[in-house]
Structures are given as C-alpha cells and as structure tokens.
C-alpha cells in the first residue's frame, strides 16, 4: 500500500478500532447443564449422549433438565418474534434455575443464546440482565472442551480423512470452526482435508430450506458435491441443522457419503468404537 493510503488507516484518524476481545474462559466448573437442542433431541440423540460422555470424561457433572425444548431460533428467523420470545423465556427460566454454565452441542443454538436473546429481550431491562448472564455462561461444545476443559484427546482410531463443516452462524458467532479444527488436530490418525468453498453456507437456514427449496436445494447439492470431491471419507460437523440438511440431501441423492456429529466422532476416536448404551 502506498503512503497515500496511510491516511486511510484508523490510527491516522485517531479512531481506536473497536475489536471484540477474545472471550474470557473460566476455570473448569464442577457441573454444567447440557442444552440438547431440538434437532439433536429428535434426530441425533446419540450425538447428545456422546457430548455428555465427553464432558463426564473431563470430570464435569452433566445436568440435563427434562423441561428443556428448543432455543426458539426457528420462529425467530421466520419473523415470529412473540412466539420465539415465549419459547426463549421458557428456556431462560429452566437454565436460570441451576445457573450452571450451559453447554450446547450445536453452534447456531449457542449463538441464539449468546447473541439473539439480547435482541428478543431488549425491551425488558430486568430480563435482559439475566439474558446477558446466560450469554456469558453459554458455550458451544467444542469451545467448552477445548478452552474450558483444555481437553487432551488420544486417538485410538484407524487413519482417516475427514472434512469439517461448520454452520455459518456458529462460524460467525461462536468461532466453532477454529475450535473444532484444534480438537481434530489432537487426533493423530485423523487428517482434516479442506473442501471447496468450505466457508460457504450449506443452504439450510431453518425455514429458508422450505420457503426457498429451489435455492436451498442448489446450495446443499453444491455443498455435498464439494464434500465428496474433497477426498474425505466422511464429514463431521458440530451443528445439528446442517447435519440434517447435508445427510438428508446425500440420502436423497442416493450417495453413500455421510456426515456425523463431531461429538460422536470424537467419542468413537478416543474409545476405538462406540459404546453400546443405546437401544
């Protein structure tokens, strides 16, 4: 850049750039609440259970309040603010009861707690304080394992090549892609390969996938193609919504390639195989 443009730099105009400080991570707590998320609850419960196992392996006691349901995101992104708010309020009540740190095995739902609840409750100062506190103690699973538990994984699986997909809101709101990458790096036998347009959306977007099925379908087709072309044998992701979208599309296309939740992948790698607790 030529001298001419030094004036364009913020320093020259004496405006201090506002940078989001790196998140402060607490000491490892004794116990956490797992917020399972509705998609994991109904479609990938094993991933939720593997998340619990991973946390317990770190010596963290896991609470799973049976009253929990959905974070409210589907209604929020569809424009139904009141409905989203009612559901959000219900989760807030449940999560506030123990006040424990909240671990979420899905980046976009964690992002909902951390970022969008603020917008929902902006007009209620008292609730907003509780929302801020919830945002402070909400962690996406990979982030919690890496930064709070400082997990050390030893790989017992066979050599494998995998692709990592990160949901957009998680990438932008939670930095999940960085955390997941670091976790995968700890696994000796696992090679993470890049895929084409890795940071591009898989096309899910909640109700976008049914309101704009043509565009959403084109996006997920491109995503599955780039995943399959990457040389990976499978895809891992820490987001239930993307997983449902990508696997559903692969199955529709009659492809054998599949994705699975990062929690299940990690648990299997460090144990050699999955524990058979599930019917």
């Amino acid at each position: 850049m030529s001298d001419l443009f030094y004036d364009a730099a913020p320093n020259a105009t004496r405006v201090a750039p506002e940078r989001e400080p790196e998140r402060y991570y607490p000491e490892k707590p004794e116990a956490v609440t797992l917020f399972g998320t509705c998609v994991v609850d109904l479609f990938f419960p094993e991933a939720g259970l593997d998340a619990i196992r991973l946390l317990e392996r770190e010596g963290v006691r896991v609470h799973f309040p049976q009253e929990q349901s959905c974070c409210g995101q589907p209604a929020w992104t569809s424009g139904y603010r009141d409905e989203a708010k009612a559901v959000a309020r219900a989760q807030l009540e449940i999560l506030d009861r123990s006040g424990l740190p909240v671990v979420v095995p899905s980046g976009s739902c964690a992002g909902m707690f951390r970022h969008h609840y603020r917008a929902l409750f902006a007009d209620e100062p008292d609730t907003l304080k509780r929302v801020e506190a919830l945002a402070e103690r909400t962690f996406e699973l990979t982030e919690f394992l890496l930064k709070v538990c400082k997990v050390q994984l030893s790989d017992r699986g066979a050599p494998s090549k995998i692709a990592l997909h990160t949901s957009c809101s998680a990438r932008r709101e939670m930095n999940t892609h960085l955390h997941a990458r670091e976790l995968l790096q700890q696994l000796e036998g696992v090679e993470r390969v890049d895929h084409d347009h890795e940071s591009e959306c898989c096309g899910f977007g909640g109700t976008f996938s049914v309101r704009m099925p043509e565009v959403s379908g084109a996006m997920v087709k491109d995503k599955t193609r780039s995943l399959m072309d990457s040389g990976a044998v499978e895809m891992v992701t820490a987001d239930g919504g993307c997983l449902m979208n990508i696997n559903g599309s692969l199955e529709k296309q009659k492809e054998r390639f599949r994705g699975r939740h990062l929690a299940s992948f990690l648990w299997e790698r460090i144990n050699g195989a999955s524990e058979g607790e599930v019917a």
Binding site: S2, P10, P45, F64, E83, C168, S216
Partner: protein, 483 residues
C-alpha cells in the same frame, strides 16, 4: 439462455425466476466464476485483518455520524454547491427526478444524452423516461452499454453485465452492431469504445451518479475505472449528477477511508483508475468543462428508512457490491432474479423502503441468514439482522399500522397458528415430552413426504429414542439425578 427482463416489466415471483436461473448452467457458471474472483480480490486487498476491521469500524462511524446530522449536511451541501455554481434540485419521487432532468435537457433543446454509470438513474428508469420523450440516453459504462444494447437491466450494481461472458457479449455485438465475432476481451472493449467515443462528442448532456457529496467544500466525488465518467461529466456542455440524499458526507477527510473501503471492497483495488472531484462548471478563464452543472438529490423512500432507527442503517451503504459478491444465494441465482434495481443482500434491505415490502415479499426469505454479507460490509450494515426484521414486518397483521411500507404482505393466519402451536409445544414440558415419546415410538409412521423439504432431502425419520430419554437413563445409571 440468459434471463431477459424487459426494462420496465417486473413479475413478483422470485421463486419462479430463481428456478429458471438455477437451471441455466451458463448463467450459474458465469456468476460463480465472477464472484469467486471478486471475493479473492477483496481478500487480497485487505491483507491485515486488524486494519480491515478497524477501517470498517471507522467507515461505520463516519457514515452513521453523517446520517445523524443528515438534514444539516444536506443544507450545507446545497449552500456550498450553489456557491460553486452547481444548481441543486430536490426530488421526492423518481417521477419528480425524471421531470427535473427532462426539464434541464429541454431547456438546452438537447436530444442526446450520454450517461456514466449511475444506479440512481436505474432507480429512476431514466433511459425509458427520456426515450419516451424523444431523447436518446446512451450508457457509456461498458457493462451498462452491454445491458442497454440487450434491453436488459444490470445484474450487479458494480458490474452490470457480469451475467454475460465474453462469448455472449461477442454475439451481442455481432447481432446488434454487425461487428465480427471475437472473444478477445480487449477487442470487445475497443468495439464499445469506438461507438461511445463519437457519442461523447455529440452529446448535449452528460449524466452521472455520485459516490460522495462533500458538504464542507461543495464537491461531488465520482470513482470509476473506464474514464467514461470523466468524459460524461466534462465533454458535454451540461452535466447532470443524480444521487440519493444519503450520499452526503461532512468533509474530504472523511472521504479518504470511505473511498478506500469502497474500492477495496468492490474490486479489490487500492484506488480506482479515475477519481473525479467535481466542484463546479467551467470558469471564464478555463478551456474545458461543462457550462452548467446540476445535482438532483433523490429521496425515493430514503427518508422513510431514515425515520426508522434500525432500518436507517441501510443508508450507510456506499454501493460497493461486496455483499452480493459474497452471497451464496446471489451467486446461484444472479441479479435478475431479484427483479429489482438493487439485487443481492443490499437490495433486499433497501428495496422495501423504495418500492414497498409488498412488492418484494419474497426477498427477506431469500436468505439462509448465513451472515456473509454482514461480515464483509465495509460500513458494517448488519444485513442479516435487518433481513430478520423485515421477516417480522412481512408477517405482521396487515390490519395493524405498519412500520415498513407495504408490511404484512406475507401475513397468513394459518402460519401464525402453526407457530402458536409450536410455541405451545416448546413451552409446556409435559406436552413436549409426550411429543418426543410419540414421534420416536411411531417413527415408522413418519410421513414419506414432508412438503418442500422432501424435494431436496430424504424424509426425516426420528431416532428410536430421544435425547431426553437417553440422557435420563444415562444420568440415572451414573447415579446422577437428572434435574
């Protein structure tokens, strides 16, 4: 076949147009290749992430600051421009703006207009308006020239003909101008230049847009790469600049970072080939330049956006196009699918105030809210947040007073009830658990078709047991009490 949109006719069906575009392999390839290249150029233009983020923050503050005193700045601008000999005209609607432009041309008995690139003139559909009154208005920006020749609208705000590749342009020049076919881009540009060069000399009036209108000095700043902007604003005896009221900035110092953000975000350039600073008509002792300079300041719904604290942020826009370059939806469907002057993410948030949300009811939904647009916006417009807001406005009861023009267009009593049901399910734990129990127990009965979802996916089948169930059992076995 590429899409062709008659210049004035618009159909409201976004999905239909999207389907056509998605089926057009050539079109999709043209956009993918072009957008990939633009994303790379932008990334290379901001090698230092800290500097980039600092600059974006500064850009946001400068624009927000200017908007916070918009009325005063506009008054100052008018005063300074007038002092400099530039005539200032105000237009609330596009009709008024067109009428003003027409009046100026008529006063000079002009019949030929040459135009530099201007999205506001697209907003006004100035070419059509003048053509209907017997005035030829020729586009001089190469991309604009190409789309005008093919009776199309721009498909991108910076690169109007980005939906066409060299072969398609060659064929167009062959069909319309009788030129020999060639896929050499330089030769194609020379063909355009030859035609346009004569027009610059013959034109009675030159029209241009404005990137920044500087209040303190009464200066109009115009960036461009082809030189057509300079020709259009200096060769003809009259220059008419048209722009939106949000383009005013306090002073030249503020413009420096904004121009840097604009050119780097748009094309990855440290600066454009031409930066025109227009500060008045030809003075008595000067040899060239126009005899008259006019500025038409257009509102067209902008004050409506201005009045809404959240939507006001749309007026930060400096029209770089980075949001569309990075948009996975735009990349796949192209600009014409939006059916409006401004396509892509920025188009989705500024069109409602211009045309009314009811004219573009599908636009807010045409996004996965991936956030790429907001991440790259040089002036930090929270585009996903505003799209989400417009989704709320879209489904409001149309009987109630609306906050955004044309709100409530997507209101559906049935959909509202579905979400009420969803709310009930997710706020009553016993009901939710019964739902889980039933969905997992009767999973074999899950429908094989689930609306549009199964167009692209296999039918979703619930797991055998829910996480609620598994977690309760697991924690019980562990001796921990499920709370």
């Amino acid at each position: 076949m590429s899409q062709r949109i008659p210049v004035t006719e618009l159909t409201p069906d976004f999905r239909g147009r999207a389907e056509e575009a998605l089926a057009d392999g050539q079109l999709r390839n043209n956009f993918r290749v072009a957008m990939d290249s633009l994303m790379t150029k932008r990334a290379n233009a901001f090698p230092d992430a800290d500097e980039r983020e600092g600059l974006r923050e500064l850009g946001n503050r400068l624009k927000a600051g200017a908007l916070s005193r918009l009325p005063d700045l506009l008054e100052q601008l008018e005063q300074k421009l007038t002092e400099n000999g530039i005539k200032v005209h105000w237009a609330e609607t596009v009709e008024e703006a067109n009428d003003l432009v027409h009046g100026i041309i008529e006063a000079r008995k002009g019949s030929q207009v040459v135009k530099g690139k201007s999205m506001v003139s697209e907003e006004m559909e100035m070419n059509d308006y003048l053509a209907e009154r017997g005035i030829e208005c020729l586009e001089s920006d190469m991309g604009e020239y190409i789309v005008q020749l093919d009776n199309e609208k721009p498909s991108h705000i910076i690169m109007p003909a980005i939906h066409k590749n060299a072969r398609q342009v060659s064929k167009l020049f062959h069909d319309k101008l009788g030129e020999p076919e060639t896929e050499d881009v330089n030769q194609l540009i020379q063909i355009g230049r030859r035609t346009l060069r004569r027009k610059f000399m013959d034109a009675d009036v030159g029209v241009s847009g404005v990137n920044f209108a500087i209040a303190e000095t009464g200066t109009l700043l115009l960036v461009e790469n082809e030189g057509n902007g300079r020709m259009s604003t200096t060769a003809p005896p009259v220059h008419i600049a048209v722009t939106g009221i949000e383009k005013v900035v306090p002073n030249l110092r503020d413009v420096v970072p904004l121009v840097s953000l604009l050119t780097r975000s748009a094309l990855g350039q440290p600066i454009t080939t031409y930066v025109n600073l227009i500060s008045g008509p030809r003075k008595p002792d000067e040899l060239d330049g126009p005899e008259e300079v006019h500025l038409v300041l257009l509102d067209n719904g902008r004050t409506g956006a201005f009045a809404d604290a959240q939507m006001r942020q749309t007026l930060n826009c400096i029209r770089c196009g980075a949001c569309m370059n990075h948009c996975p939806v735009y990349t796949r469907v192209g600009g014409h699918t939006y059916g409006e002057v401004y396509p892509g993410p920025i188009g989705k948030i500024i069109t409602p105030h211009m045309a009314g949300l009811d004219k573009v009811p599908d636009h807010p939904s045409a996004s996965s809210l991936c956030g790429a647009c907001g991440e790259v916006c040089p002036v930090k417009i929270p585009i996903p947040e505003l799209l989400q807001r417009l989704r709320q406005e879209n489904v409001k009861d149309p009987e109630q007073p609306q906050q955004v023009k044309g709100g409530g267009a997507k209101y559906s009593r049935m959909e509202r009830w579905i979400w009420r049901g969803w709310q009930m399910l997710n706020t009553r734990p016993a009901l939710y658990r019964s739902f889980l129990w039933a969905a997992t127990r009767f999973r074999a009965l899950a429908p094989k078709k689930a609306g549009p979802w199964t167009e692209n996916h296999s039918a979703p089948v619930p797991a055998r047991r829910s996480l609620h169930d598994l977690a309760a059992q697991h924690l019980d076995q562990k001796g921990g009490r499920p709370s």
